[in-house]
């Protein structure tokens, strides 16, 4: 495994000095205008794949623009590759980075959450205080629809999703590790659209690989709300030939969980017993986007202009990443990163009163099928009639070590592109 440690990553990306940047962490204290605006300012909500990229690239495009990034978490934990933590192939530390690189670019990183958006006055509320913006970029990722599964909301501490990399990833790995040989691991997949279409199937591979090597009498039951594997189906089916321990059941939507009886139930009333459950809940745009009325009639996702990512509902507010809908792109980190860059360029043009260039995103999703081999799907897009249109989708011919090496290359580059 070509692991890179956090220190190596930071060294490779030339990060060393901490210069400038507001020292965040004064949450709750500030009232009124928390940082009076002196020049042009972009505020970014969310320091994940989309938001951190956008914050950095606004500064790269025009260092005279002040950029304030709001992100409650002090570290960035990569969801991509986090399925490898479940199988023990990677450590969570190897996926954890800090925000010093962004500060080096002059981004003011404040570790606080935005609590409301006021489009009319162009303010972002942070508790009792507020920040004024000229343009706002919103990248809050996904929120879980807890209420869609009976018994889930009140058992969030026991029934893990591990769908936002971090403490839950480590806890789920520990649950898997302490499951007795012969135990049943149940993984449930929500109906599309959800974050990372191939993610649950990659997770299936990683859990099955771990069980095959460590608990050979155990079984993995996958309850998929969708009618079939929704990404790279042929490649995953081929990979699963190595895992007779997988029991994959399509069109099995889980609607109830009972942790005391260690049981989930599907919409057809079928009951499935588990020793460990990993329930990936249905999803919608991050809460702040819903509260700010950036979502459409479905109350789930945000529709945007395909060239600028400006919300179709509110002026001067741009939405990127998993929270968006209406583009023919997957909810992936690679897409969030591409949107972050394109949106940053558009925002700088708009602040200058110029026409933004028409730039299409691109996507690659690598998935690990065991400890050393991966598969990939690649999508390229163009802009046609003001809309994002796919040019081509290409799959790797099969699983290989070479693709896994490219996956490591991709991760190294893109983490650096976001945070370095």
């Amino acid at each position: 495994m070509t692991g890179i440690t956090r220190r190596e990553f930071l060294r490779a990306s030339g990060v060393g000095m901490v210069v400038g940047g507001l020292a965040g962490g004064c949450a709750g204290a500030a009232r009124g205008d928390m940082a009076p605006k002196t020049g042009r300012r972009v505020v970014v909500i969310g320091g994940g794949w989309g938001g951190a990229t956008a914050a950095k690239y606004v500064r790269l495009a025009d260092p005279s623009i002040e950029v304030i990034l709001l992100e409650p978490n002090r570290t960035f934990v990569s969801c991509p590759f986090s399925n490898l933590v479940l199988s023990g192939v990677r450590t969570i530390d190897s996926l954890t980075f800090d925000y010093r690189g962004l500060r080096r670019h002059g981004v003011s990183v404040r570790h606080e959450a935005a609590t409301a958006i006021e489009p009319e006055t162009r303010r972002v509320r942070v508790g009792e205080g507020y920040l004024q913006y000229d343009r706002l970029i919103v990248s809050p990722g996904v929120e879980f629809q807890w209420e869609q599964v009976e018994g889930l909301a009140e058992n969030q501490d026991k029934v893990l999703h591990a769908w936002k990399a971090g403490p839950q990833t480590v806890q789920l790995a520990a649950q898997l590790g302490s499951m007795p040989d012969g135990g049943v691991f149940v993984l449930t997949i929500p109906p599309a659209a959800y974050r990372c279409p191939p993610g649950p199937y990659e997770r299936t591979c990683q859990v099955a690989w771990y069980l095959k090597n460590n608990k050979p009498k155990s079984k993995l039951i996958v309850l998929d709300a969708n009618q079939n594997i929704i990404s790279k189906a042929g490649l995953f089916r081929a990979a699963w030939r190595d895992y007779p321990n997988i029991d994959y059941r399509a069109s099995n939507k889980v609607v109830k969980v009972d942790p005391s009886g260690r049981e989930v139930a599907t919409d057809f009333g079928d009951k499935v017993k588990y020793d460990v459950v990993n329930l990936i809940p249905p999803q919608r745009a991050g809460t702040i986007a819903v509260q700010a009325d950036l979502v459409g009639a479905d109350k789930r996702w945000c529709e945007v202009n395909h060239l600028t990512y400006e919300s179709v509902k509110h002026r001067d507010i741009h939405v990127i990443g998993d929270s968006t809908i209406g583009l023919p792109v997957p909810k992936s980190g690679n897409i969030a990163n591409a949107m972050g860059k394109i949106c940053a360029v558009a925002v700088v043009h708009l602040l200058d009163g110029k026409q933004p260039p028409a730039l299409p995103p691109g996507n690659t999703c690598y998935s690990w099928v065991n400890d050393r081999e991966a598969i990939a799907v690649v999508n390229a897009y163009k802009i046609d009639g003001g809309k994002v249109v796919q040019i081509e989708q290409k799959l790797t011919p099969g699983q290989s070590v070479a693709v896994a090496q490219n996956a490591v290359g991709w991760a190294t580059s893109i983490w650096n592109d976001i945070l370095g």
Binding site: S13, N334, K341, P357, G362, V378, A380, Q405, S413, D417
Partner: protein
């Protein structure tokens, strides 16, 4: 006072030059490439090639080969088509104008020495130092990540990179005579040449 004025002057000049890294023509059309090839094409990984400093003629041939499926790569075929849509000349000019810094991927010193000895057979085309020959579209292979160089040699050997390309016959014939283990040594050597 004078110091302050000098500083203002320096800042003004830097500003006037429009030094923003995204100002170069082609820079915004290359934004997606950074996800794999690193900022300004300065790949930090072992597997992905450095694009900074590639000669435009060579760059364009590579893009055209990928887009046409002659140089099979699941990653590059779609992206090459995107580059053709956006305008390959701008993107080629952008990467050509980026200063190439050699890879930071470490190599084994003993492998470098073995590679140096084996590299003589490459000199007729790539030059005594591996710096290539722009007029003949023979790339500068120095400073590229070793993993990438090794993979490409294997692909030549198996005739999987641009199969049937008449220009590459001699190169592929040579690669067939070289044992796979030696590719790692050659890669270590060329990636270490500054």
């Amino acid at each position: 006072m004078r110091i302050a004025l000098t500083l203002v002057f320096i800042l003004a000049v830097a500003g006037a030059a429009g030094a923003g890294p995204l100002d170069a023509p082609g820079a915004t059309k290359a934004l997606n490439c950074a996800a794999c090839h690193g900022p300004s094409g300065q790949s930090p990984s072992d597997a992905m090639p450095i694009l900074a400093g590639l000669w435009p003629e060579y760059f364009k041939k590579a893009i055209q080969d990928y887009a046409a499926g002659r140089r099979p790569s699941p990653e590059m075929e779609p992206y090459a088509k995107q580059v053709l849509e956006l305008g390959v000349d701008d993107v080629a000019a952008y990467f050509a104008s980026q200063q190439r810094a050699s890879t930071k991927v470490k190599v084994d010193a003993a492998a470098v020495e073995r590679g140096r000895a084996a590299a003589q057979q490459c000199a007729v085309c790539h030059g005594s130092e591996g710096k290539g020959d722009r007029a003949k579209l023979i790339p500068d292979i120095t400073g590229q990540p070793p993993g990438y160089l090794r993979t490409q040699m294997l692909l030549f050997k198996e005739d999987r990179r641009s199969p049937g390309d008449e220009r590459l016959k001699a190169l592929k014939a040579l690669m067939k005579t070289i044992p796979d283990e030696t590719f790692a040594d050659l890669a270590a050597y060329f990636s270490s040449v500054r």
